[in-house]
Symmetry: C5
Subunit: 262 residues, 5 copies
């Protein structure tokens, strides 16, 4: 008899769609390239999340401890690496699920570098984290980034859908993946993810807001749940304005669901 | 005094024979090469397993959580790797036995790459998994694939029987191995496996259904228990039809048992 | 709801500022280059800490066990390496948090070599230590030194602020980092550290006392909490005199706080 | 005060001598080179052990679970490796002591490749196994094979006695080592093993039975406890006949004990 | 408040001085080069320790189990390596502190190869062992040998004092280090060791007894606690005679204590 009561992403959804605010740039890339006097401050990000109507905020443990104030549901990213070390990427757990929960986390985030020589370490670590998250009744969310010598193009239909699928197979309740560039190819990734919800990874700031909104539109049309966005919001001069524009797309746009038959 | 009540494969047998439906292609090879709009969906596979009269279905943890509905006995494969990374293969545990059991698993699957530089890691990990499975009263099933620089030909009589034997020695209750190509040589693998039951690993889709059925006939004649099949069923346009053809062979064909004397 | 009662650095502060006496030179560099007949003796250092009005003393476990007398709050550094081995630096935990607490520690220190090939090991180990420290109600202090092939200049604005930020992200309650050389650039590191308190790492003995006091003035002007000093105090012929000079700067100098707006 | 009640090899002795039947060939070398239709079957080996009056039988966990019937005392070998992988040998634990005991084991076997780059892993693992075996009141038996680039000749007096001694130092209750080729040099190995009992490792099938019996005679004359034999018995057309010949030597031959004085 | 009741070396001292009998030669170097018919026997060593009035005997776990008779206090060396493997040295724990205590150990010995690429592993392992020893109320003794590519001269004043200091910092209650060759330079090592007691490591057999006694005299003059001697005693034709000569020096010679002032 199959198990009941598998945790869902419901905490982070509005009518089945979602917009998350991600902020691990300071760990992953350092505070100099992407930050300015305002957005270097996690309190500013917390403010945007609350006022911008985001469905969740993503912090590393340290920011969660010192800045999280409970106004939007919290996801704690429990691994990370600096951008300094080159070579095959690995990213190790720095926060236990139990501790994340004690800080108020309603979801656990973890990055897997699919295709890295060390992918096995991350599969294994995520496996434990996923179980612990589910035992605490909260979802596990996999950031899945194909990377390393074995990966030629990390936004191809093939590799992005592989990323999505590995997340599903490993028990992720949601996957955060890069956009392939068009709704049709991305819809294959969404289909490959099955019951795991798909979030587009925001990526670097686009030239114009319209560019970004347009990407998000494609993502939603492809059947994805939504967006985990960072720089394109908190580097924006009007973060609440771009958030509003994104919400219009995420929560109003219709998906063009692909047909599946047995 | 020897221990009693060692778990058996009985849950997965019909009159001592068995046909299992395997579906870890999405993890091991990605959803693009082998999947189409229908078979990318785990619900479709679950449907085939139930309607096709399979003795068991093999899922990774994520699929078990989100798609397994209890209609056929469940085996959870608790390790896996992507096809992206090259070099000596390793495959690490991503699901605990305890968690697999909580999801309804009646058997635990694990891949060992015999001959890989990392075989020792897998022997050790399987050793723990086997004990835990038996402590939960369910069988441990070893996928044993000779692979790596040390393996010249992974379907020779010598190497396939070595794979079978390592499974027996490590306490596997069943081994999933490749077919050697003819019943005579495969019967040595079956004999080497002793009381561990032998399942042929289905492999890539054959040109014709007859080719595949013929292979399975050889396997059964060699004394094996049956087949763990994936692509040759769920890539088939008529999965239930090929399943019927396989069942006729698996459950009706007679083994030509080799004689053993003391 | 966010967690309450996160430990703070209050034990080690006077009006929000702090001067710590560090003494792990014997482990990290050996007793010959930097020590003389007097300062080779940990009892001498304990004496300076007490008489010099330091806010805390930093010992490795062995010194804490055999020399610590309770007159100033204790920080135990729980990892370390010798200066003999070259190549990418790693530094492993040699004292449990639980044991450090049993020896009277009111804070736990740990070195992270940011940018080292092994940074992930240290992120992970610090992650556990931070949790354990907080569970014992005491702060975790990260010595963060960018080092290894990937690090060209370990005192640049970019790298020092990255160090500060990684400490914040990992949950350090204070970071000990190198001075960038001027208050303006260092203020960016202080800002990047957010609610994690910033201590300047003392470094090698300067030519004159004035040189060192001047550095510390810049640090305080940049908004840092204070200084963790070793050689510049205990190699000084008049350790109490230089301590007095430092206290004047640390506890009287005003910070030129940068403005942050949402 | 020294500890009492250290486990002994008594379970496996007849008047202080012993003949063990070893059967891990299928794991270590595969079923093809050394096995035939009869001896590939563990039940055949179990039969020989019982009818041949052996003092013990050595199985891997899988064989113990599925074939052991309690007629002779059981030793479970808890590590192993295939013969496929080349380079410095390592052999990892695949069965816990606790589980081995639950299967009826009265002794625990473990292989150490002395001189391998990985010897430290095996020393450490054996250290834990030895403690656990003793806590269960049963002896730990070390197969000690000098191997790897550092070992020029694995049957020299020096290296065989080193193997014997390492077993004693690590707490082995018995060591299984190769024969040096003559009783005089082997007696130094026996002396080096001290209170750890010495078993000759049977090795590959000799040309004639007389050759093998003659080796065993030398071993016993050198003061060893006996023999752990595999291929020379179960590859023999008349296993019970060669067993009888061996028993005559093992249990009747006198040792020429070397004199030791303080 | 600092912790009370840190274990001391008192069990192994007579009026603050000590002479220990060390015997791990069989593990570290094999029984052939240094052993003869008499001293290969651990019972002979036990006898010398008792009759020679030694303050302690150092055995590996296996010898402790099978030969220790309680007449002199026992130190169990809980790690070791063979002399066969070349390259950067590592030495792993093969006996738990808990088990050593159950065998009667009143002190725990552990070797650290300072300067080895693997020194961090040993720092970490010793850190756990030291805590466990102290929790059992017994001292931890570090054999600290600078070794590996990074070490040019392992008896220089600088490196020997570094070894002594690392022991102190890691919480060793006593360090066993090599003699520098003269009392003056060795007194710096003794001073660097602080409250950790210093034992000279006996080393290979000297040409004459006088040579060895003269070394020990220098060690004691330098302020050390004593000597851990092996080969120079048990390879001696008259072990009790040389023991007597050593005792005269160790327990009667005056140290020329260096002055320390604050």
């Amino acid at each position: 008899m199959p198990r009941k009561n598998i945790p869902t992403m419901d905490t982070f959804l509005t009518d089945g769609r979602s917009m998350l605010l991600a902020y691990d740039q300071g760990f992953e890339h350092g505070p100099s390239l992407d930050f300015n006097n305002k957005n270097v401050d996690p309190a500013y990000i917390m403010e945007i999340a609350a006022k911008g109507g985001f469905n969740g905020i993503v912090f590393q443990k340290g920011l969660a401890e010192k800045y999280y104030d409970g106004r939007v549901p919290l996801i704690i990213k429990v691994n990370g690496k600096s951008s300094l070390v080159k070579g095959e990427p690995d990213s190790k757990q720095n926060c236990s699920v139990e501790y994340a929960v004690s800080l108020g986390a309603k979801g656990i985030g973890y990055t897997i570098y699919l295709g890295s020589q060390f992918e096995g370490n991350m599969f294994q670590e995520f496996g434990k984290i996923q179980q612990e998250a589910h035992e605490h009744g909260i979802p596990a969310i996999a950031w899945i980034y194909p990377r390393g010598q074995a990966v030629a193009n990390d936004t191809s239909r093939e590799i992005v859908s592989y990323a999505a699928r590995v997340g599903l197979e490993l028990g992720a309740d949601a996957v955060k993946i890069k956009y392939t560039g068009d709704p049709e190819s991305f819809s294959w990734a969404v289909k490959s993810a099955g019951h795991a919800r798909v979030f587009m990874s925001g990526g670097p700031k686009t030239k114009t807001d319209e560019d970004f909104v347009s990407q998000v539109r494609g993502v939603i049309q492809a059947g994805a749940t939504g967006l985990a966005v960072g720089r394109n919001v908190w580097q924006n001069e009007n973060p609440l304005q771009i958030a509003d524009a994104l919400k219009k797309v995420i929560f109003k746009e219709k998906a063009i669901e692909p047909s599946i038959g047995v």
